[in-house]
C-alpha cells in the first residue's frame, strides 16, 4: 500500500490554504457527482436496456393483440389479453397451482433446512463432514439434479426398487398427475435444503452462547430452548431465507421443461413454464407478454420484502 505512509500529511494539506474553502467544497461535490454518474453509467445502462426496456416492452406487447402467423401488425386492444387470461380456467388453475406450490414448498424447505441446521450445530461428531455432505446436492446445477431424479424416479428406477424391497408398491412419480408436482418438489428440495441450511447455520452460530447457558440454568429442555431462543433469535435469517427461496421457486422452469413438460394433464404447469409455452410453443407473443407481466408483478412484491430485509441488515454489517 503506497497510500498508507502518506496519511500523516492529511492535517497539513487540508488546513485552510490559498484557495477559499466554500467554492472548493462545491466543486468537489460536483466532481463527485460527475464521477458517480460515470461509475454508475454501465450498471444503469445495463438495467435500462436489460431490465426496464423488456419490462416496458412486455407491458406494451400485453396491451396489443397479434394475429396468427404474424403477417399483420398487432393492434392495440387495451386490457383484453388480461381479461381473456383471467376468464380462462386453465390460466387461473396455473396461477392457483403456482401459489399452492409455493405455499407448500417454501415453508417446507425452510423448516427442514432449519431442523438440519440445528442438528449439525449441536454437539455431534464430525459436524463439518455432515454439513458438507448435506450441502453437496446444492453444488449440482439444476439440469444435473433433474437428470439424477429423472432417472432415479423412473418406474423401474432405484427409488421404486427401494420401495419394493421395503414391501411397498412401485409409484408412478412423474407419470402420474397426482405425484408429478410432488416429485418436482423433491428435485428442488434435494438441492435447496442444503443451500438454505448454510444461511441458517451462520445465523445460529451468531446467537450468543449466553442465551443457551441461561436456558440451561433455567432447566429448559431442548424443545423449549428451540422455540424460546433459537427461533426468535433466528427470525431475520429465517425470513430472509423464506423470501429468497420463494423468489427462486416462483420462476422454476428447468425441471418442468426437462422432466414433465407441464404434464401429466397440466399438473406441473406453473406460471413461468406457461409463459414460455404460450410464447414459443403456441406462438402467442402478446398473450405470453401478459402472462409475464402478471408473473413479474407478483415477483416484485416478494423482491421488495427481500430488499427491506437486506437493508435492515446494513448497520450491523457495515460496522467492523
Amino acid at each position: 500500500m503506497s497510500v498508507q505512509h502518506e496519511a500523516p500529511r492529511t492535517g497539513v494539506r487540508t488546513s485552510p490554504g490559498v484557495g477559499s474553502p466554500p467554492p472548493r467544497r462545491l466543486s468537489r461535490r460536483h466532481k463527485e457527482l460527475a464521477w458517480a454518474v460515470i461509475f454508475l453509467a454501465p450498471a444503469i445502462i445495463a438495467i435500462l436496456t436489460l431490465r426496464i426496456a423488456p419490462s416496458i416492452g412486455a407491458v406494451i406487447s400485453s396491451l396489443h393483440r397479434g394475429f396468427p402467423g404474424g403477417v399483420l401488425e398487432p393492434v392495440f386492444s387495451g386490457f383484453r389479453n388480461y381479461a381473456d387470461l383471467l376468464a380462462n380456467e386453465a390460466f387461473r388453475d396455473t396461477v392457483v397451482r403456482t401459489v399452492v406450490f409455493n405455499v407448500i414448498i417454501n415453508p417446507l424447505q425452510v423448516a427442514i433446512a432449519l431442523m438440519v441446521a440445528v442438528l449439525v450445530t449441536r454437539k455431534i461428531g464430525a459436524p463439518g463432514l455432515w454439513r458438507t455432505l448435506i450441502f453437496i446436492p446444492a453444488t449440482v446445477p439444476i439440469v444435473g439434479s433433474s437428470i439424477v431424479w429423472g432417472v432415479a424416479l423412473r418406474p423401474e428406477g432405484p427409488i421404486n426398487a427401494i420401495i419394493e424391497a421395503l414391501g411397498g408398491t412401485p409409484q408412478p412419480f412423474f407419470t402420474s398427475g397426482d405425484q408429478a408436482l410432488a416429485s418436482i418438489m423433491l428435485v428442488l428440495s434435494w438441492i435447496g435444503i442444503g443451500y438454505w441450511m448454510l444461511f441458517l447455520i451462520s445465523g445460529i452460530q451468531s446467537i450468543p452462547e449466553e442465551y443457551y447457558e441461561a436456558a440451561r440454568l433455567d432447566r429448559a429442555g431442548p424443545i423449549r430452548t428451540f422455540f424460546s431462543i433459537t427461533i426468535p433469535l433466528l427470525k431475520r435469517p429465517l425470513l430472509f431465507v423464506l423470501v429468497a427461496d420463494t423468489v427462486a421457486n416462483f420462476v422454476v422452469f428447468v425441471p418442468i421443461q426437462m422432466l414433465t413438460n407441464g404434464g401429466p394433464q397440466n399438473s406441473t404447469t406453473m406460471q413461468m413454464f406457461n409463459a414460455y409455452r404460450t410464447t414459443y410453443t403456441y406462438g402467442s407473443k402478446n398473450l405470453g407478454a401478459a402472462e409475464v407481466v402478471i408473473l413479474t408483478l407478483i415477483m416484485l412484491v416478494f423482491v421488495a420484502i427481500q430488499f427491506r430485509m437486506l437493508r435492515e441488515d446494513r448497520p450491523t454489517r457495515s460496522r467492523r
Partner: protein, 286 residues
C-alpha cells in the same frame, strides 16, 4: 450437587450426542447418496445403472468395473464444444461484470451525492427481480437488436448482479475513509483511488462477486435456450438437457455431464478461496 449427579448428567449428554451424531449421519446419507449414485453411474456402463435394481442389491453402489468411457465419449462429442462455449461466456461475463459491479459499488459506497440511497435501492431491486421473469420479453428485444446467436447475446444479461453490487458496497463501506482522503490529497483521481486503494482491498468481496457472476452464467439455462438456436453456440447445460431422455442407454453419459457441470463451480470456488480468502482489512488503519 455431588460428583455422581454431574457424572450422570455427563453420561446422559454423551449418549444424546451419540444419538444426534447417528441422526446426522442418516440425514447426510439421504442427501449424499443420490450424489454418490450419480458419480458412480458416470463411471460405469449405462446398462449397469438399472441392472442392479431388481432384486435390489449392494451392487447399486458398487460398480463391477470403473471406466472413464462415458466422459471420453461425452467430451469428444457436442458436449465438449458446448463446455468450451460455456467457459468462454463465463470468462467474458466475469471480466466485464466484476468491473461494472465494482464501479457501481464504489459510487454507491464512497462518493457522496444526493439521491444515493434511492439509486442504490433502484440498482439492487432491479437486479433482484429474477432474470427469468423478463427473459422472454428480453429475448424478443435481442432478436430485434440482432443479438440472437451471438456470444454477446449470451454474455450481456449476466454482467450486472445486484447481490454482487450489494456485497461489494458493504465491503467498500468498511474501508477507512482516511485511505481515500490521503490518496485524494496526493492528487489521485477517483478511478485511481478505486483501482489502487479499494480494488486491492476488495479481496474476498471481489472473489465472491466473481463467483456469483460465474455461477449465474454457468447454470444459465432458460436464457441460452431462448437466445441461441445454432448448435455451435450451445452452452453446456442446454446441450446436456438436449441429450437427456433421447436414448435410455445414454444415462451414463448424462450422469457424466451432470458431474462435469457440478465439479467446475466447486473447483472455481476452491481456486477463488485459495487466492483471495486470506485478505483482511483489520490491520490497515493506524
Amino acid at each position: 450437587m455431588t460428583a455422581t449427579t454431574t457424572r450422570l448428567r455427563r453420561g446422559r449428554s454423551e449418549r444424546r450426542s451419540v444419538a444426534l451424531t447417528i441422526l446426522a449421519v442418516l440425514v447426510a446419507a439421504v442427501f449424499a447418496l443420490p450424489a454418490l449414485w450419480l458419480l458412480l453411474g458416470s463411471v460405469r456402463p449405462s446398462s449397469e445403472i438399472f441392472g442392479s435394481l431388481s432384486p435390489l442389491s449392494w451392487r447399486i453402489l458398487v460398480p463391477s468395473s470403473v471406466s472413464l468411457d462415458n466422459y471420453v465419449t461425452l467430451l469428444t462429442g457436442s458436449f465438449g464444444r458446448a463446455l468450451g462455449v460455456s467457459f468462454l461466456v463465463c470468462a467474458l461475463t466475469v471480466a466485464v461484470g466484476v468491473i461494472v459491479c465494482a464501479l457501481a459499488a464504489y459510487a454507491l459506497a464512497v462518493l457522496q451525492f444526493r439521491g444515493r440511497g434511492a439509486v442504490f435501492a433502484f440498482v439492487v431491486i432491479s437486479f433482484m427481480v429474477p432474470f427469468e421473469a423478463i427473459a422472454i420479453p428480453l429475448s424478443q428485444l435481442f432478436t430485434s437488436w440482432g443479438l440472437t446467436n451471438t456470444i454477446m447475446g449470451l454474455v450481456l444479461p449476466g454482467i450486472g448482479n445486484g447481490l454482487a453490487i450489494f456485497n461489494l458496497r458493504q465491503h467498500f463501506l468498511a474501508v477507512p475513509t482516511s485511505y481515500r482522503e490521503a490518496a485524494t490529497i496526493d492528487g489521485a483521481s477517483e478511478p485511481r483511488v478505486l483501482w489502487s486503494v479499494y480494488w486491492p482491498l476488495g479481496g474476498s468481496a471481489l472473489a465472491n462477486s466473481a463467483l456469483l457472476i460465474f455461477l449465474g452464467q454457468w447454470t444459465a439455462y432458460l436464457w441460452p435456450l431462448l437466445v441461441v438456436s445454432e448448435s455451435r453456440l450451445q452452452v453446456a447445460p442446454v446441450a446436456l438437457s438436449r441429450t437427456f431422455g433421447e436414448h435410455t442407454f445414454d444415462y451414463g453419459q448424462n450422469f457424466a455431464g451432470a458431474v462435469v457441470l457440478s465439479v467446475v463451480p466447486a473447483v472455481m470456488m476452491f481456486i477463488l478461496q485459495r487466492s483471495f480468502g486470506g485478505l483482511s482489512l483489520a490491520t490497515g488503519e493506524k
